[in-house]
Amino acid sequence: MIATSYSIFEKNVSRPEALFFIENRAIEGFWIWDLSEKSIYISQRLFKNLEYGTSQITENFTLDKLLKLNADKTLLEQILECTSNVLTLNYYNKNNEIVKYEVEFFAVKDYIDRVTSYIFANLKVIQRKSISKQAKSFINRSFIHREIFAELEQIAEIGGWEINLLTGQIIWTKQVFKIHEVSEDYIPKVEQALNFYVREDREKVVKALQETLKKSKPFDLNCRIITAKNNIKWVRSSGKIFLENGKPLKIIGVFQDISKQIKQSEKLRISENTFRGNFEHSAIGMAILDEKGKWLEVNKRLCDVLGYSDFELKQKTFQDITHPHDLDLDVSLLEELAQGMRENYQMDKRYLHKNGSVIHATLSVSVVRNFDGTPFHYVSQILDITANVKAKLDLQAAITKLEAVFNASTQVSIIATDRNGLIKNFNSGAENLLGFSADEMIDIHTADFLHTSQELQNRKLELNLTEAVADFTVFSESIQNGFDTREWTYTHKDGYEFPVLLTVTEITENDNSVGYLGVAIDLSEIKKVEKEITSLLEITKDQNERLKNFAHIVSHNLRSHASNFKMLLDLLVHDHPEFKENEFIKYLETASEDLKETITHLNEVVQLNTTLIDNLEEINLHDVIEMNSRNVQIYAIEKEVTIYNNVEKDVTVKGISAYISSVIINFITNAIKYSNSNVNSFVKLTTSSSNDYIELIIEDNGIGIDLQKNGPKLFGMYKTFHDNSDARGIGLFITKNQVEAMGGKIEVESTLHKGTTFKIYLRK
């Protein structure tokens, strides 16, 4: 019991007040109701008043045994309703009779202002069944004081002292001697008593005493003393002046060793600082909220996470910054916490950042309660998991996309297997192409099931595998650099076979092979097209062959008939010279000549090699031009056209001699043929060089070509653009094909009546 009461005083910051209260009020005894320990301490005086013997001081005194309580109200309710601190209590005495007292109570509070216990001091008896003799004898007030002090000393290691201001005499109680570590026969004097205080505190005490004397104000100090045994102790010394007839009579004070408390409060301070340090510098957002959800304390991390300053955040409630979708759950969990249904809760929730963005967090809330169980405040820990959530969402999105690709490929078969080839995934493309459903395949067949056994055996032979090995081995064994692509034949559920291009890729996880992925596309259509192309090629070859035969017929048979015409006409005219002027004969001769020429051109066209020729020879352009201009010199002189060969002597091109000659002859002949008879006609040949080509530029000042009208047809077969009777478009057609066969090209610029420039690009 004593220990319990002692603990009350240990905890209580308001102890000196409590002691003064008891000393001044508890004339008829007192009792203490410890709320935290749920126990009662009853003073000896009250015990005596209630007629108990000292032997009956027991620990198991309960509220019910001590008091007759009102039926409708608890004691606590009475206390809370009471405004004056004065109640009437009905005590039971030893004989269970009611003894009525007027009682003043005092609330003892801890450092956070929480009531831990109540002290009830009996002011006066209102109604007593019997007054004991002992009670009557306790009238002497000072005696009562002494008795109370003795009792208090016992329960709280508190000493009392008194300075008689008239005599200067000092009275110490037992406990004071004990605190000073002096024997009880020590006679304290004022000066000596003050000397116990350490130098730094002594002045403080003296000053406090002087203040008290001057202004009759009570003092209360925490000071250090050095005991007779040279121990330093923290003591709490408080005092109050007593007046007699308006004059100061004495100072009475309480003296208590508070070294333990100081030590404890130091510990508390350290632990509080530790908490505060943790709070402030935590990597997790932390907050203390009041029971309404308003932020009381927030740490820096939380401010950073939510984007608010400390000040801004404290203006808000958690409801303000919680994502509306998560608010109901949070509030209902908090409600459960408030009602004591739980001690803490965790939830993943979303907050709204100051900038409006969503913050994902894991919230842990615990509660600190008042002694009556109502929430005092909440402690929240808020871990920002936005990055994790985002990563998770990104991952989910990536997986979804991959799955979408896997499933959306309706024309591409994707089959995943384990290491032994057992099918683990079978996409809709595979279902589509093969006719089997995924359910029929997954965990039932190995991928080789879909292939023809003949091909599997053939592949085994190619890979030098024995027949005994599993068929699927042909796929895993084929893999090089992680994959293998080749043509296979799949068998449809309906039994028909079709060609596929299959790529088998090894699936690895952390460098370990875990299976294979087979991606196949149906080659049926491609094969069909391939077949069509092949047959088309056959037809083309055939037609080409026929064309060659045709050319042969043209060059041999047709031509021999034509030449016979010519010969017979010549002979006819020879035998009958009078026919020479006959118009029929003349036209027949012309027709015969034209037929011959047409056959010649046709033959050239047929013989023309239009495919690109690779083995080209080096040809000196200047020399070729020189040689060919000589061949047409007579014609040029006749038409009064000057040929300028301005090509540098060392320019060479890659080509075929016969083609180059033919091209040059053709252009020079054309230039002469289509010269303008009104000017000094010329044809000028120059070259310029570009990256890949030598450009042979053949310029004339002839009659020109209307490119607008004839451009697209210029190099076509049998197109004639001029009125000249001997014009033959076949020349340009052949020339163009010859240039292209040598890997070159031709460009043309022309102005009617001004001239034409051909640019012939030849390989360097």
Partner: protein
């Protein structure tokens, strides 16, 4: 200008043979002719003449496209027959196929390659050449 005594024409085209004979007469090229309509006839007859040491033609005008035995086959067989007399052989054809021209050049016994039709001017030039 030397006149050729006997010209052998090997051609399956009667118009050509008719025309050429007339031309040669007009050009005063040759008086007598030996005519064959395919290589086989020509080869057989010429071989007999050689064996009998009879009169051989000075000039053979050889067509390429003929039934039974064509000009090439004739050439291949004819060069095998040993003959003391030098006979000038001209290929005369309507073929302007490059391949034929090239092939003709590979036969050392072939003097030249003439394109039909034959003209009086052409015959005169030919006579000069011989």
């Amino acid at each position: 200008m030397k006149k050729i005594a006997l010209t052998c024409i090997i051609d399956d085209d009667p118009i050509f043979i008719f025309g050429t004979q007339r031309m040669m007469k007009i050009a005063n090229f040759c008086e007598s002719f030996m005519i064959f309509h395919n290589g086989k006839n020509a080869l057989d007859t010429l071989e007999k003449i050689i064996l009998a040491d009879g009169t051989l033609p000075d000039l053979i005008l050889l067509d390429l496209n003929m039934p039974i035995m064509d000009g090439w086959e004739f050439l291949d067989e004819f060069v095998k027959i040993k003959c003391r007399q030098k006979i000038t052989i001209y290929i005369i054809t309507s073929s302007i196929d490059d391949e034929d021209v090239k092939k003709a050049k590979t036969y050392s016994s072939v003097s030249n390659y003439l394109l039909k039709p034959v003209t009086i001017e052409g015959l005169k030039a030919l006579l000069e050449e011989i």
